[in-house]
Symmetry: D4
Subunit: 218 residues, 8 copies
């Protein structure tokens, strides 16, 4: 059984983006072959949802590999598509359980050269935490909101601030909120106007959506 892998090397030209590699459903063997293939074409490697075991294997293989453990991401190579922009993204999250998703988004923006700031633990159960930072958050050009449980943070931010808002439901919680579906549906149903939503835990996708906006602004 012979077959070729067809990595999307043209994506950089077409969309100004590189193709990220989804690490979770791939074996170490598949990841190794894929990295070899990608690096041989002088393209950079960005793997998301990679666990420590797989990451350590690749860290041993490649000198310039960097593992961001709290973001579950691994990078190899340097030729990322930096863009020139003074636009900034704020990533706001409801609780420290949302950290991995938040950091995945932040990392994905930083490799493109976008200035980011994470505002952690500003969930609306203690509204003062958000209100006290609102003026600071308002200085950013695009807002990413990460929240699990009932996801109410997206609605409150969306009602207070006028920027483009990208909401990311996070799969933390238990019972009816266990898999992030409640946060997802809550964000899709938000009473605040114009909140756009990503798949559950899709921090990387939120970064790409923000990047599309930043690039159209810059």
């Amino acid at each position: 059984m012979n077959f070729d892998i067809k990595f999307d090397f043209q994506r950089r030209d077409r969309l100004g983006l590189i193709e990220a590699i989804w690490g979770q459903d791939k074996s170490i063997d598949q990841l190794e072959r894929l990295c070899g293939n990608v690096l041989s074409k002088n393209e950079v490697v960005f793997i998301t949802r990679i666990n420590s075991e797989k990451a350590n294997y690749l860290l041993d293989l490649y000198d310039d590999a960097r593992f961001h453990e709290e973001a579950n991401c691994l990078l190899i190579g340097k030729n990322f598509n930096k863009i020139i922009t003074n636009k900034k993204v704020a990533i706001i999250s409801g609780g420290s359980s949302d950290l991995a998703v938040t950091l995945e988004a932040q990392l994905a923006l930083e490799i493109y050269g976008v200035n980011c700031q994470s505002f952690i633990d500003v969930g609306v159960a203690g509204l003062h935490r958000l209100m006290s930072q609102l003026e600071e958050i308002n200085k950013y050009d695009v807002l990413i909101v990460c929240a699990g449980m009932e996801g109410a943070l997206a609605t409150v931010v969306g009602g207070l601030l006028a920027q483009p808002i990208i909401a990311v439901p996070v799969s933390v919680g238990y019972g009816v909120s266990k898999d992030g579906e409640t946060a997802l549906n809550s964000m899709l149903s938000s009473c605040s106007p114009g909140i756009a939503v990503m798949n559950i835990d899709n921090g990387y996708g939120a970064a790409m959506a923000a990047l599309r906006i930043i690039k159209s602004i810059s």
Copy 2:
């Protein structure tokens, strides 16, 4: 096919509550027989989810019937179980689409002699509407929060006020929030501590839960 209806006439003694009649799934004929049966035992009639057509039929039959159209409720008789209390209930709702549920709750409390106030349209997409009335709402002893869409109002109220809170999801909306399940799951998943939740659109049940609390306080 012969059979008797067994209305729960002992509920008044056992729980201090009368049995309400669920009007939606009953025919006019069934409602008429049920009313006759209940009134013949000198018990009062409280029908919820009754439409105009059924209500008008009963209004013609019984002189002392009162139809509260916006609450979809019909009452017959006067011997309601008034309790002596100075405790008050605030019913807070996210939008005017939640009105029927809000008014069903208010009516069900008022027939027991409980002082109620409805605070309509204080949804958190425009947070100032809630904040400007917070001090007033804080004077009430028990809070019922009715909201559809993403139901974020329950979380925000629950994070700001210390009273017992009963949340009622409302089946307004479209797409993923159409049947009220998103609001329900959102309220069950609230980050604010100690929010208790009723079935979708169950304004009457929320009133009964509040009444159980009021009676244990009074």
Copy 3:
């Protein structure tokens, strides 16, 4: 039972947006009271998901009311928040069954002064229909993609063009795609990077998300 409606009149100042009125779950009587209240404050009225019967009633009441029947929207007043921009939005849809959602989005952008163009019936089952207009679509600054059934259009557009993309699942179809959930989940799961998604049939929300972007650009 006395209560006040609290329309969000401050939204214009806070977000640069007016509050739209969701017509579907409101009675004619509720709509009339709401319109009177809003117009008395010199605010404009924008009602979505309003049927002909309710619309005709309001058309009789207000001289300057305009009913856009295919978009199921009714407008009263003229003081919309026009913005000054040369940015343009393309609204791309998979089939003519998606028309109402497409036109709701278009109308909501036009009242803010944004230049829009709808590209109807470019579903990917006949890929040439999209490919032949790709160059034209690429001239627009923000893309809204409306599609029912399996929603594959969003993925194909997202893989070909670099603009910000807002995807709107539409509730057309039958069997597993009846309520738009398949299109919704398909768009959320798109392999194309950075596609942000709205609730099912939420053309209005997509317009507001586009407007947030346009305003941050302009």
Copy 4:
């Protein structure tokens, strides 16, 4: 990547409650940092859903940490918000499989100084077990009912006793009752009037709902 954790230290003043820490989705490292942060402000630590491994790590670090293994909870510090009350809470559960949830509720009430009693294994498949203790249960002021499977216990208790009732569905069982959703929906659908419901397995939340009631009584 730098960021601050924003614990809700003001909750004690605002609601009379401390913020509990959800242990399940946090790493040992995150828990350690969080405990250090909280204790440095002289606030107490209450961690729920913490397993033995994480608990033992923290027990080694902090002399005054106490691990309640059957309740999956860990406490550090002594400055809990004891309230003065003679009101008592009964926690009634359907089977011994519900024990962890039952004990989480009991512990959360006891740290606030509330007198509690658990009535275990009184499921309605053997109705006599409940009936023989009914008189005793009736001496309590607030009732928490924990049950998995079909959750019928809440309905039977709610039909017999007049106190405020907080129902907690438990995720024990198999097949259609595996995740606790059947018990949840069953409790929400109860024919008994005024039963308020918490998220699945949310013993802590039930305690907080009871505490809100106790405090409004006391």
Copy 5:
């Protein structure tokens, strides 16, 4: 387009049962053709879930047709498969909203010559209603329990009585219990041992299950 209908005329010999006709999804025209076909073979007609309009059309056509309106059933012909038995079936139901399902079961048993009694409105929210009739119900050989909402009646009966029990969930209620799925799942999850369950609203099927038992006993 030519085709024959293949009614299962051999079922009487094979199973001792006739084939019932499901009336809900068939047009008047289809029902008329089917009745003609069945009656021409000297077989009897038993149509379930038939509304008044369809029933009245057939009542005009066939002299010996009988419409049982509250059971939504229509019978034509007399040659039903009466069995000789002194075994009796009790049909117990939680509320008068379950009436149609209860009566469909009763009718389906009576045409086979089985002695039935319906016990209506003995829902467990008022437990005394069931307890006061328990001795009487215990005289019956097979028990059918019909209940909507949370379906707790099946568990309580199943814990008290030793007969074969067939539970029928009923699609009454609202919110999470609207379509009868909560009652179905609740009955399937019952803590009482050996309760067998039918599809939602399937009174006819419950009768057939009871009949299989009665025939194996007699």
Copy 6:
């Protein structure tokens, strides 16, 4: 608001198929415009899921329109893509309630010149009905199996016959089988090897899948 409809006129060349029009979600006005557009290009019109009211309107407009009421389909024009083949398709259905889906499939094959035969009412509850026609069915080259309820017919046919089998779940039934999802999942889960499945009620799609096979054979 100006826009063009883009019918897929090239599908005939590309796939050898015409584009059918889904009638259910389109207004009479939309259908009229679409028919005019299609016919002006000398293409034929095939509308599925069209009700009598819409069909009669178009029958009045176009002389050569034919309405197949039991199949809910309307045809205009004669230039269908007849293929030359001696291959035959059998359409097997479980009950007469599945008739509309069965006939939609048959009609869609016949307009392409494919010889079809429907075998109605051979559901496996009375297995002899299928067994007695098995030899006849075995003479056909491709089998389409339509069934609602539990859809067991597909498994039994698939275990007995070696032809290509296309299964179509049908939305007849009640309770858990109401929307055809049980039949769909049952067919997807079939123990018989190599059964391919269409969307619920998609008789037209099954015909197109059969046509793809027939054309590859012929």
Copy 7:
């Protein structure tokens, strides 16, 4: 935290059944305490869904404990409630993957003294396997049908044989049939009349339902 376990020791008198212990959600410690409690009252222990590790611990403790590994059941003590009957139960299963459920049912009947026979691997994808044993199966008085995947076996058996039939969906399979829900819904939707259904994998419950029938016959 002190509490008593309330085992249902009266069930033997009330229903003629002992209470089985659900082993899956209990710790070794809980099981040990429960066994000690039950055995001290001279009652027998029957634990279902117990894994090898827990079973071996108890085997070491109790001399007369017997572990039935393929049925995942453990018995301690001898005083089971044997009944005197010549009635027999056939347990029919679709595939060898259903074995554990099948054997749990068989064991639960045998401890009550009921004569059982299992017919394994007679799935309807190879119909001849069932047909060749039909005459033999017909000698049994009650039929239990265990099947996963699409569960069609229940329908075919129910259409061929007249005995009481208890269907048990089994959680084998993948994709849409992974958790047994497809088999469950398929059995509930069966076209064959009078098939009663248990929860997924509930072999024990099916045995108890059969026992209720056997006892009412004997």
Copy 8:
């Protein structure tokens, strides 16, 4: 507890197919007994979804066993049912995460002597990858399309090529696409005509569906 396994040895005669063994839910012990039974009748063994541990055990037992690790399949024996055909199957997949399913399909076809080619990683997010191989793919007689995430590949292929198409949803992804249900529903809802769908991850079944077609062609 004695019982026989009834393998479907007649399937080869009836359908021209052997019975495959589903390895995932069977223990090593069950697999060993089954292999012994099957091989003793000179039938070949084809086990799908078998992990390395179980496979290695059987590799030790049987000299001619072959384990295809990436396809999770194990074969024993040589007497496969090779057919004589010049027809070829293309297996097209969206990403390298779909590899196991793709290879299971390829292997299952090759053992019957069918010529296959896999086209990996041609997902439509980078449309050029598919377009550049379209002419090559068009040389094949039957197309199998494997895709996870949103499954849009099936629609695009189905709109471009006229062959019989069998779509296989794959359970890769996260959030709403985690279990493959989104890909499944997307494929069932495809706008492209005549796409037939298999259960999630059912590569083997797709091969059998293709084989039914190939055999009817050849």
